[in-house]
């Protein structure tokens, strides 16, 4: 059987313009080749900057932010699509190849009803009349498990949930009966319990309509569920290309092996002692507007030198919990104790000493640091503020901290923009630890990082805990991270505590229904997981 899509020696370059310098061409994709048969799915996997989205968009002959395709060819139906211009190109985009973006919420036009956006392509390409297209759209809604398929499309994008919107976008991609769909991280922005439904819907749809697909993701476990073949990319170059089975079970390259390996970080659980807990949250309730309770009757305990992971999906109140403990959102009810003493609810009422002892690390290191400060200033500032350390003494302390985070004196004069994502987060960790805190609240600190980089950051956090006996309140939505680093776990759902306890107890059955759902929704690095998980789930969960 002949190939539907052949990509040969694809080279894509981007103009990078640093202020004050001449623009330079940077190679984003370097001589990548692959073929795709009708009805097959190729997974493109890699970290950020691997060029996977760029390759996906190239299949639509589209380059983002000044990216230009400078070499190679992309053959679809024996025609080089890179030579298409004008009407022919528009006929190709959306007609033969369609695109499913990461954020459906941002990619649907807020001003038009879903139906109008979904049938637009089929009508404008002349493939169908409006009545026929609408009828077909309803068939698709039904196939993708959307509620009330008859009336679903009459809503505006803001009126449906994130998971439904992502499925609606898949319907939009299928509406023109394309030969190929490019899925660009379609489930990354979703909660795990939603992701599994969308993933199953996408997989069924691809099979049902016999469409070929490029499935782009940074999550190998997810790609493993839908792809027939997988290509591993790094820095724009192909690392490894093979069947899903081969990549998952017999990876040849070291980089692929690292990706496949389950987290290399694992912490033995510390047993609970009788000691007074360092932090005690007692029946705390809080709300932002005085009406809707975002956190309800929450109680937690954390011992010195331990890690408590607070896990939950978006809207579970876990970040609000962090804000309450930091004093940014005074609770309407309940109390917090730190080292046995009542903690003033408002940050303003807290002493400098308390502020020194409780510190926070944020999800986005980019926005948590002043871009105009050097690393020296960023790490040195708490030293001066809390201890009055200045001059040579401060310089020595900063270097010591930089060495602790495995960076060193070379970085003193750099600005945050000159660091990689992982390095930025390390600097934030050093800044938090500079004041010698007893409690550090980590709010999704590894969520914005690539898996291997995240692993490095977790290892660092654990080493520092051993050295300084600091306690972590670790807020995350990622079960794998929880498994790796916690001593105890608190599961939250819609502002309420589902359960709390030692890691070994929470992670072993029997579970309360929500914990069960959450744990069973985490993709596993093996083929056939999705089918097992879906069949194991009750049908009512599919309504989402």
């Amino acid at each position: 059987m002949s190939n539907l899509l052949t990509v040969k020696d694809l080279v894509i370059k981007a103009q990078v313009h640093h202020p004050g310098e001449k623009p330079v061409a940077v190679t984003i994709v370097d001589k990548v080749s692959f073929t795709l048969e009708k009805g097959k799915v190729l997974g493109l996997i890699g970290e950020s900057g691997a060029g996977k989205s760029t390759i996906g968009l190239a299949a639509l002959a589209y380059g983002r932010f000044g990216c230009t395709i400078t070499g190679g060819e992309i053959i679809l139906h024996e025609q080089d699509i890179l030579k298409f211009r004008g009407d022919k190109l528009r006929q190709h985009r959306g007609g033969q190849v369609s695109y499913v973006a990461q954020s459906a919420a941002a990619s649907f036009n807020p001003a038009h009803k879903l139906d109008d956006q979904i049938v637009e392509v089929a009508i404008s390409k002349g493939a169908m009349g409006r009545t026929e297209a609408l009828k077909y759209a309803k068939t698709l809604y039904k196939k993708l498990g959307l509620p009330n398929p008859e009336t679903f499309g009459q809503r505006y994008p803001h009126q449906v949930s994130g998971g439904q919107l992502q499925r609606a976008m898949t319907a939009m991609a299928l509406a023109s009966k394309p030969d190929l769909i490019v899925f660009d991280e379609p489930t990354t922005a979703l909660d795990v319990t939603t992701q599994i439904d969308v993933l199953a819907a996408i997989k069924d749809a691809i099979r049902e309509f016999n469409t070929a697909a490029l499935y782009i993701s940074h999550d190998l476990a997810v790609v493993g569920q839908v792809a027939d073949e997988i290509m591993v990319l790094r820095y724009g170059k192909m690392v490894e290309y093979g069947s899903t089975e081969q990549i998952l079970y017999h990876p040849k390259e070291k980089y692929t092996q690292q990706l496949v390996a389950v987290r290399s970080v694992f912490k033995e659980e510390k047993p609970r002692t009788k000691a007074e807990p360092l932090l005690k949250v007692a029946k705390v309730t809080a709300s932002y507007d005085g009406k809707v309770k975002v956190v309800k009757n929450l109680s937690l305990e954390l011992e010195a030198g331990h890690t408590l992971a607070v896990v939950g999906e978006s809207g579970s109140g876990k970040s609000t919990t962090a804000r309450i403990i930091m004093g940014l959102l005074p609770p309407s009810d309940g109390e917090i104790f730190f080292e046995g003493k009542r903690l003033p609810p408002k940050l303003k009422q807290r002493s400098k000493e308390l502020k020194r002892l409780i510190r926070m690390i944020y999800q986005m290191p980019d926005v948590a640091m002043n871009p105009r400060h050097t690393i020296r200033d960023i790490i040195g500032r708490p030293l001066t503020f809390f201890f009055g350390t200045r001059g040579k003494e401060r310089e020595a302390k900063v270097i010591e901290l930089l060495e602790q985070i495995e960076m060193g004196a070379d970085y003193l004069n750099r600005f945050p923009a000159e660091l990689s994502g992982g390095q930025k987060q390390r600097v934030c960790i050093a800044r938090a630890l500079a004041s010698k805190p007893k409690l550090v609240i980590c709010d999704e600190v590894t969520s914005a990082l690539d898996p291997l980089v995240a692993d490095g950051v977790l290892k660092l956090l654990m080493r520092l805990q051993k050295e300084t006996n600091v306690s972590y309140l670790f807020i995350t939505h990622d079960i794998a991270t929880v498994r790796a680093i916690s001593d105890s776990i608190a599961v939250m759902y819609q502002g309420e505590l589902v359960e709390v306890g030692q890691k070994s107890k929470i992670l072993s059955p029997p579970h309360p229904p929500y914990t069960e759902l959450l744990l069973s929704s985490v993709p596993e690095m093996r083929m056939g997981w999705l089918e097992e998980a879906i069949s194991g789930r009750r049908m009512e969960a599919a309504g989402n």
């Binding site: 190109l89 985009r93 990619s107 036009n109 392509v121 404008s124």
Partner: protein, 319 residues
């Protein structure tokens, strides 16, 4: 229509009424601090203090300002704009035909300028950074930089004097037919169009370009939607709110800010009436004109707010 939407709209309306009340105070106070008064104007320089005092008592000018303000406001609430001091006619009658004339000129100018501005804005976006965009930007920028009296006199020079197609005097009267009226106002209308076009066109362009970087625009491009359809159907509805606002500010200007153009072309509108009566110190007329201008301005802005609210599907159809 949701209750939330109705509440938002009612809030805007209430706010408009309050603003109008505050403005009525400001208008009264500024008329109050004008140097000289109508008694002085009527009697001239040679009037004796006794005569002046008598006339002031006769006209009710000797009462305390608060009482005069309350009388004036009370009249307005009942729909009575007062009586002109100088010629003893009801103010409403004086203003009536003038206001219609101003509205006529403003509406015709708006009917030309608003669609033209939006169309030029869309064209400028479609051919962004290419010659049509640069040409449109350069011409409109030039037009906005020239004072309107200059544009007016240049138009008179070329189209009334060198080429005697139109009259330099745009006199209209009740006996003229619609066609004659339209012919009479060609030049002032062109001047006004020139002046307001650039502002609206540039805002349309900027608002749409702001929306063009949204992910849903990229999505539309990836769906193979044609460039003009991307701009008109996908970008324009999301840029409508700032565009409505700038259109309304310009509509208000067409009614409120036409004094200069009316004077140049001797057009019998509100602006002329206003200027004449300021020099005569005929305060009831001046105050009534001011209040009408303010009402138009606030009303149009309120309309812009309401249209922006209605234009937002998130407010129209809550979850």
């Amino acid at each position: 229509m949701s209750t939330q939407l109705i509440r938002l709209i009612l809030q805007r309306v209430a706010l408009g009424v309050v603003t109008l009340f505050v403005i009525s105070i400001l208008i009264f106070l500024s008329a109050e601090i004008l140097p000289g008064d109508v008694a002085q104007t009527i009697l001239g320089q040679s009037a004796t203090p006794e005569n002046l005092a008598n006339l002031r008592t006769q006209l009710g000018l000797d009462k305390p300002p608060l009482q005069r303000y309350m009388n004036w406001l009370g009249g307005i609430v009942r729909g009575d704009l007062g009586t002109s001091i100088v010629n003893k006619q009801p103010v409403a009658k004086l203003i009536g035909s003038r206001f219609t004339n101003t509205l006529f000129l403003a509406s015709v100018s708006a009917l030309i300028a608003v669609p033209a501005a939006i169309l030029l804005g869309l064209l400028a976006v479609r051919f962004r950074d290419k010659w049509p965009d640069k040409f449109i930007s350069a011409t409109t920028l030039t037009a906005i930089s020239l004072p309107e009296f200059f544009v007016g006199y240049v138009l008179i020079l070329f189209f009334a004097i060198k080429l005697p197609w139109f009259s330099s005097l745009s006199t209209v009267s009740a006996s003229m037919s619609l066609g004659e009226r339209l012919h009479a106002i060609v030049l002032p209308c062109a001047t006004l169009t020139f002046v307001v076009l650039a502002h609206m066109m540039r805002m349309t362009r900027a608002a749409i370009i702001g929306v063009l970087s949204s992910p849903y625009i990229e999505m539309a491009q990836l769906k193979g939607v044609s460039p003009f359809r991307v701009i008109f159907r996908h970008a324009f509805p999301n840029a409508i709110s700032p565009i409505i606002n700038v259109v309304v500010v310009n509509l208000a200007y067409l009614i409120v800010g036409v004094v200069v153009v009316e004077v140049i072309f001797v057009y019998p509108g509100m602006g002329q009436l206003f200027v004449d009566n300021v020099s005569k110190r005929d305060l009831p007329v001046v105050q009534a004109c001011g209040l009408i201008f303010a009402t138009v301005f606030i009303g149009l802005n309120m309309m812009a707010d309401v249209l922006s609210i209605i234009g937002n599907p998130k407010l129209r159809y809550p979850k």
